[in-house]
């Protein structure tokens, strides 16, 4: 997704223009976070489950090479065609070549953040292929010509009235109708027709089992299954990090995933695809697109443990008040902010700074990724590599100079106090970002240093 030249702060400012909406967005996501807490507290062994999931994922990252080879071998035995894509472009070309072979120019797709990351829809559109997203939230943002703002709840930023308007325009529902039950029923009718007429379906992958070659897709709506079981061709697209070693490991991950995501004990459908049905063609596309680079960075590799539950977004005080689109990347929020700089450090240099480093993300992460520590580490890498905001760099340099030079430090303090007292406009102005949302503090008569010196003399 391209946001032009706007960074997280500038995009947040746009979102923050409507204060009532920000409050509503904040509360809605906190409501989801609260549901997660309730579900987690119902499992007395929750913390040990998180630890186990984390250890399984550590094992996966340390043995990914062999697991991928095992998975490929098993999947092939199961009658599935396996493809490897080094980057987004190759992934898109592979998908296109499969569709071309079958002369398909219309297809349906269930939720896949990977295809968002690869901009598959835009690419296929250029090739004259029509893609319809079948997850309700994704369909809504697709009709609005927007990217998803959240990986689990794609249209969480939209009010039902806006969705009603979109449906009125595109699906012919009555004007002013915004009842969620009515709108969902309208989407069901519209998408059922689509399911019945498309010959190719793309799905994402939640987990792929090295031991058996099967892959698991989780949905509440049933859209992945409706698409895959009716289509002649099923293409499943997955990042290489989605591998887990054994089938029984699914017990751990399926217990954690949906409780962390929405507070449900499990999604309605956890479908295990192992072999194509008779007469059907099944493809798996294994995608790298920067993941091996992330694997080579010891400080950041464990971001690849992510199972895409979005708990870190729902709990993030910045995400809740800045909205998913302010992150200008397919995966928003704290986890997105440690994944994106790996893909393009310059484009996403702003994201690790879009955090208070409060650590709430790390506390809720079901696979125990140290998200806030990685955000902090990315800041250091980005500054060192020269991608930091020049204003921030200049300010840091000035601070370094001042703090490392006692004479300058004393006089800078004095000068600051003098200006704030006698010429407040020099600090209370638009150039001072601190002043934008706060009053400047009252000017003290003297610094602590001066006070201490005076009182020490009087000893």
């Amino acid at each position: 997704m391209s946001s032009g030249t706007k960074d997280h702060a500038a995009l947040s400012e746009i979102f923050n223009k409507d204060e009532a909406r920000v409050d509503w967005h904040d509360e809605t996501l906190w409501f989801v976070r609260a549901k997660r807490d309730k579900a987690a507290h119902n499992i007395p062994e929750w913390e040990s489950l998180r630890e186990t999931a984390s250890l399984i994922k550590n094992n996966v990252l340390s043995n990914l090479h062999n697991y991928l080879i095992d998975f490929e071998e098993q999947a092939k035995k199961n009658g599935v065609t396996v493809h490897w894509a080094a980057d987004a472009a190759e992934h898109n070309q592979i998908v296109h070549s499969i569709l071309k072979k079958h002369q398909v120019d219309r297809l349906i797709k269930s939720k896949s953040m990977l295809t968002e990351e690869c901009h598959l829809n835009e690419y296929l559109k250029e090739q004259g292929i029509d893609v319809i997203d079948t997850d309700l939230g994704e369909r809504i943002v697709q009709l609005a010509k927007e990217p998803p703002s959240h990986i689990v709840l794609p249209c969480i930023h939209k009010k039902k009235e806006e969705i009603g308007e979109l449906f009125h325009e595109h699906l012919g529902t009555p004007e002013g109708m915004s009842d969620p039950v009515f709108l969902t029923a309208a989407a069901r009718e519209h998408l059922r027709e689509t399911f019945l007429t498309r010959r190719a379906a793309i799905t994402g992958v939640n987990f792929a089992v090295a031991e058996t070659g099967e892959f698991v897709v989780c949905t509440n709506e049933g859209n992945a299954d409706m698409g895959a079981h009716l289509a002649d061709v099923h293409i499943a697209c997955m990042g290489i990090e989605k591998i887990i070693p054994k089938r029984k490991n699914l017990g751990v991950f399926l217990r954690l995933l949906t409780r962390s995501a929405t507070g449900q004990p499990i999604t309605t459908y956890s479908s295990h695809f192992k072999k194509p049905r008779p007469g059907q063609e099944m493809h798996i596309v294994l995608v790298d697109n920067g993941r091996t680079t992330q694997l080579s960075r010891p400080d950041f590799r464990n971001s690849l443990k992510c199972i895409r539950c979005a708990a870190c977004m729902n709990t993030c005080p910045v995400y809740r008040r800045s909205g998913g689109h302010s992150y200008h990347t397919a995966v928003a929020g704290p986890i997105g902010s440690i994944l994106a700089p790996n893909l393009d450090m310059k484009e996403y240099a702003d994201l690790p700074f879009a955090s208070t480093l409060c650590g709430s993300c790390s506390n809720v992460c079901p696979v125990k990724i140290n998200i806030h520590e990685q955000l902090y580490k990315w800041r250091q890498v980005i500054v060192k590599e020269g991608y930091a905001d020049p204003k921030k760099k200049l300010a840091m340099k000035a601070m370094e100079f001042t703090l490392s030079n006692p004479f300058v430090y004393r006089n800078a303090g004095k000068a600051g106090r003098w200006f704030m007292k006698h010429a407040p406009f020099t600090v209370n102005n638009k150039l001072n970002l601190w002043y934008q949302h706060r009053e400047m503090p009252e000017v003290p008569k003297e610094s602590f240093g001066e006070w201490y010196k005076k009182n020490k003399k009087n000893d």
Partner: protein
């Protein structure tokens, strides 16, 4: 070098030292009454649990609630109330099935999910495309948690299998829960003695 070779080579040079898998997880806190826990949870997620003592009870319930509708079933015990010869049609033709009645291998007490493999569906599309789904489950076949579920599945071979928990649902519009997104609008589980 192909992309496959390139990716695998880069992984081999990047992956950290081997870290062992943790020990298997077993159910730590079993529910005192797993059948009751299953029924309560199914109700919470929008399903209905009906306790029956035999197939006559199931037939009676279906006739009471779904009379005159298109009913298909994989269970020979329900031959008299369901359509015959439906199994080998194009899956698209099931779009107007009002009720599909199938069976499950087992249910899971902690989340009310039912494990159903392809052989119990006849056609993969059936439990997803029907308007209402009913599943027959023996009371004896309820396990505690997902750990027990995978112990039970073991190394079973299947082409397709799914844990199904309740009716299809969405909360994509302002977090309002709506049952019947794309799949069944309702799910009835017949718990058989």
């Amino acid at each position: 070098m192909t992309s496959r070779e390139q990716i695998l080579a880069k992984i081999l040079s990047s992956q950290p030292e081997l870290q062992a898998l943790p020990p298997d997880v077993l159910t730590a806190f079993p529910a005192a009454d797993p059948i009751a826990a299953f029924a309560t949870l199914l109700n919470t997620i929008g399903g209905t649990c009906i306790e029956v003592s035999n197939y006559e009870g199931i037939q009676k319930y279906i006739l009471e609630h779904f009379a005159g509708q298109r009913i298909v079933s994989t269970l020979p015990e329900l031959n008299t109330i369901s359509e015959q010869g439906w199994e080998n049609q194009d899956p698209h033709s099931y779009a107007d099935v009002d009720l599909a009645v199938i069976s499950a291998h087992f249910g899971v007490a902690e989340n009310a999910a039912l494990w159903i493999t392809e052989d119990l569906m006849h056609q993969r599309a059936v439990p997803f495309i029907c308007q209402q789904l009913a599943v027959v489950l023996s009371r004896k076949e309820i396990v505690q948690t997902m750990h027990d579920a995978y112990l039970k599945i073991g190394t079973a071979d299947y082409g397709f299998g799914s844990f199904i928990a309740g009716p299809s649902k969405t909360a994509d519009i302002e977090q309002s829960l709506v049952l019947g997104a794309h799949g069944p609008k309702g799910m009835t589980v017949f718990l058989l003695d």
